[in-house]
Assembly symmetry: D2
Homo-oligomer: 377 residues x 4
């Protein structure tokens, strides 16, 4: 199979997530990066592109220029990865969608709920695919967990405990020239949610992916602990799902000792599951009244979803990049299938998942502004 | 030193916590059990007492009878352990306090807030000591944690995450003749809180013990997942402490795979701490920007409180019974000191901690009844 | 049941293991300490005894004097705990055995193989029971493991990996006035084995207890890493068992970061087991081709041996002292039964296990002296 | 930088390690696979090559044909990855080395000691680089560990404990058509060592890489537990290093519950280190007398080697493929530098490390044949 020709918006020299997307797109050989609007000026974009081996004439100063020209090229990009700060997701995605170029977009979907709704409309109008990189859903054990819940291994779900603590914003890093901190704490670029948008939404998405539950209402207490910070850096949420399940969600960027502590625990009438992103090759399964089981990636007890998302035998750990690459890999399947019109069923996060995430962020911000009152979503 | 003469109310043949109190009182040889109102009838009490080696004439059919007679004996009990269901704590404690007999009472303090207040008054009027067995505060690593926070190792506290999941009430055990389940799910004996009173209050107490923070308000979402259960079996609470710290508390008795998962995580401006009851000989200390440290009981880095609460060298684990015995041991010191009038400073949970706990339970129940609205405590 | 009247040889104020024996004898209320030859002079013995509440006239200056007088007392001791340095075990035990007083003796059995054989003879001649405190066999999960192997859950055993690393002798502590280090590194008091006798023998005993295998030959490489140390402080052994199983054993007192890292892993044709003393409430069971199972003390999947050795529900950890107390508790059963002549089957380590251990130490020392050649045991 | 043109010998459709090499070569974009002798016939090779997007005329039926033709092509391969069973390593590598094509070769170096020596000679005569994929040395925490030992953080090394247990050969898989099992248990293809050559050599190499110690002698007890198996499936070795350090090494393929349990523990006069391949983002550092430290990949306390080998921030786990890719990445640097003649210092395993490994295997086999006698290496 020929690799899919990929462009990238954002991801210049100083960026973090762009490099992750590039590795993820490369691991399984399904994509080839051929163009980019990597930075905000043509000059910087060319400099970044050169280091990546891009042809200079395919390094653009803006996503609009890139979308226009690539759409006309015979060998123009088939898909674009959007890896900018949040507020650029919507305008950039719109440009490519309307030209039939598939979009792989970082989360959260947009920086405002209004933009999110417009982007859903744009995606629905387009023939192109829209894929959101809620990358944690690509981990093999997460796939295993989802299937186990769907098959009823846990019985009816009662309790969801989701958390995502970090510590890198414990001090006011945004005032010390760290770009990653600057835009994430800036409402103009991040949107109204800080920590809740950056990582709370990952925890929320993961809980929904695994359990299949639909959120009905929430009460959120957002805090900015670091003096002068404009956005929340700690998030406490109580959740009520349709059907009666209840949940709690904690995300924080000021919890010293936590690197990327995304963790999900789900309990039903018949059993429980526990998964931790920092040790992603394990999944605890605790059927009520029986010994605890430690399932492993591609190991004894692995189901089809676990195996399909694994490259190598058990005991040789796969990590974050492989999980991310699973999203890209499945995106490649979908995009390839779309060439002939028939998009297969898949587990990729869609634009609707993106809207769901932005709705969650918006509800958290609204609730918190009303003294953490319960709000419907 | 001669062992303190101890009586016991409750703790007959079918009970659980009575046996724990007896072992705890025996480990360090500071108490000798000599009398008991172990069951609700004299006959049963004598049967239970015989198995424990008590003299038949010191096995009583009621705590009132026991209080009256023992107070008159020359070698009557100096202290009593009250290990009954919650609703008996207050009337029993009152009888002994008014006769100057020291009371060691299981938690929660009482089954109602009104009783709790009366008991505080009774304790304040009495010359006898009142000690509440919030036993988890006796663990060496908990003592270490408290001292570290007090000394500023974490800086100002921002975030508290407390949890206590269990799974033993996942199914309606109270309908299957399990006494431990019966009274815990019965409002008449437990009070208005189920899970929140039984174990949520432990998590709340532990958080306060370690951080020294004072709760200002909370929002609680209590649920009874098991059909027909009268009291909550799952508890979600958001906390706001004086001074700006925020917290979350989860306790559950329907989370399969959890035995006694009491866990506390505390984060401040300078570092974090994490402790888990099921692996109590360890304490994670995570100074911001430095490698994580795993402190051990009586091991390298142990402070005075850790060492004082330890019996044996590091690596030979001490457990729940030793932690419980630390409460008894310290109680013995206090009681012995009280003989001469000068009660030393100590870390034992008091009647005021008990009132604080019942206030917490009451606030949770009130909040939950108002759709998890914020309530002051 | 009336507690058994217990005496103690050794265990004065500076000692470590004496205090452990006392707590262990007290936890379940089956023994009462009433006499002691706690130190090497009557004066010191009385001082130590006073702190323990012993009557002054039952604090002796020598074990011989104690044995003679207590044997004549109407309420003399029924059993004696010998908790001295190794070289005293034999002469002390002999005195009590020949007077029909039951002996509970610390390990290793003796400081020489010759003494061990004599002690076996003395025990066989006596009506009294002889119990060796290889205390790690008292842990509930160790009991579970032994039963699982016996029932064939692992199939035929192939591989045994036993280890017991510590770090407290990393530096020459014996030169700094630490009594525990002094006698343990002194051949006259310890015997010819240092680390191998002190803790290697525990690992060896545990492997045999769980697997039921009989050692045939070994090759041992003993090292004294600390300059000037007379006895080994690091032990490497390869093992060959009857029936074809092979093993390795590592014990060390110079491995920084290890407190009491006793660990056993056993693998058979059908599955494996793994247990670690520092986290004793867990046992990994790994049936080949199936998910790993984490069994817990008194939890789901606990067998009869596990339950019988547990005092409290799962998730409330029991530790070293409870495991030690299980030995005392079972010893009490045996001693009580012996009053009427019928000693029940039990799992207590016997004088023969003690001889087996001293034979192991002796073989290690002989092998190492011959450049770690294979020697028969 | 233009990717290095890479060929591959072995790695056809049924193979395991070939796919790993391909991903590793692709992750950082430093190589492009352009040719292959992927299988033993041209037809199969073309079929495998097509799936990988290779041009049909660059899919060869033998490595000799490939070496000859690619050496003449203007855009022929610059480097070749040899990923065949062991016995092919030597003849294949020789062909490419003598044509100046760089070789990246799987371990062990060869299937016989004689071949290993010839290959060293061939590599020394060639201008091309020879790189052995002892891939575990590419993990960031392994790099950290090596540097810490070199800088003296542990003081003089005393004890090394290395192990690599697996369980996949617990039953006679080689008789059930599993190719991976077939050649690994066949002396003609594997060499005289089975488990010891396949994974024991990894553990041995890792110990040497981290500690810098030189082995002097060993005593090895190799066993074939599975009936009918020609090569060892369980390996016990005692090690003596120059300078007095001692070690033990266990590798097994019949230890149920172990997937790829490579683990290294090193203890010196001042501290210890512990690393486990299955959880590779952590490294325990235990300075004597201080709290244990848990170092993380690219996290607080990461040294230069750790950081250089990391792609993404701490807490997002990197795994086996990234560690493997670090070898490829560093190989690319060396190969690129070799274009201009100046090969920089590097940490890549060389042909001499390969000879060292085969010497270890040979010594283990010789020792075991002489009843596990000590042999010099």
């Amino acid at each position: 199979m020929k690799p899919i020709r990929l462009g990238m918006v954002g991801g210049g020299n100083d960026a973090f997530i762009g490099g992750v997307h590039r590795i993820a797109s490369r691991i399984d050989g399904s994509f080839e990066l051929v163009a980019g609007a990597l930075s905000s000026t043509e000059e910087k974009s060319k400099a970044s592109g050169e280091a990546l081996g891009l042809a200079p004439d395919r390094c653009y100063g803006s996503f609009t220029e890139m979308a226009k020209r690539e759409a006309r090229l015979k060998d123009g990009i088939e898909a674009v990865a959007i890896v900018t700060p949040n507020h650029v997701h919507f305008p950039a995605a719109r440009e490519f969608l309307k030209r039939g170029i598939h979009v792989i977009c970082d989360k959260p979907l947009t920086s405002t709920l209004a933009d999110a709704k417009k982007l859903v409309a744009a995606a629905e109008k387009s023939d192109a695919q829209f894929i959101l990189t809620h990358n944690y859903t690509g981990y093999p054990m997460v796939r295993q967990a989802r299937a186990m819940v769907a098959e009823g291994a846990l019985g009816k779900i009662r309790v969801v405990q989701a958390e995502y603590p970090q510590d890198w914003l414990t001090t006011p890093m945004e005032g010390e020239g760290l770009k990653q901190a600057e835009w994430r704490t800036d409402p103009a670029r991040s949107g109204a949610g800080g920590c809740v948008g950056d990582i709370g939404t990952h925890a929320y998405n993961l809980a929904g992916f695994v359990t299949g539950l639909t959120l009905e209402s929430l009460a959120a207490d957002l805090t900015s602990f670091v003096e002068g910070r404009q956005l929340d850096d700690n998030v406490h949420v109580m959740l009520r799902y349709a059907g009666g399940a209840k949940g709690m969600l904690w995300s924080s960027q000021v919890a010293p000792g936590n690197e990327n502590g995304l963790k999900l625990r789900v309990y039903g009438e018949k059993g429980g599951l526990e998964w931790s992103q920092e040790d992603p090759n394990y999944l605890w399964y605790t059927p009520f009244g029986e010994p605890k089981q430690l399932l492993t990636r591609n190991g004894a007890g692995a189901n089809a979803g676990n195996q399909a998302a694994s490259r190598i035998p058990p005991g040789h750990p796969e990590g974050y990049l492989e999980g991310f690459a699973n999203i890209y890999n499945e995106a490649a399947d979908v995009i390839t299938a779309a060439r002939t019109g028939a998009v297969p069923e898949h587990l990729l996060p869609t634009v609707h998942d993106g809207l769901d995430g932005v709705t969650f962020i918006d509800a958290c911000v609204r609730s918190s502004a009303r003294n953490a009152a319960w709000v419907k979503v």
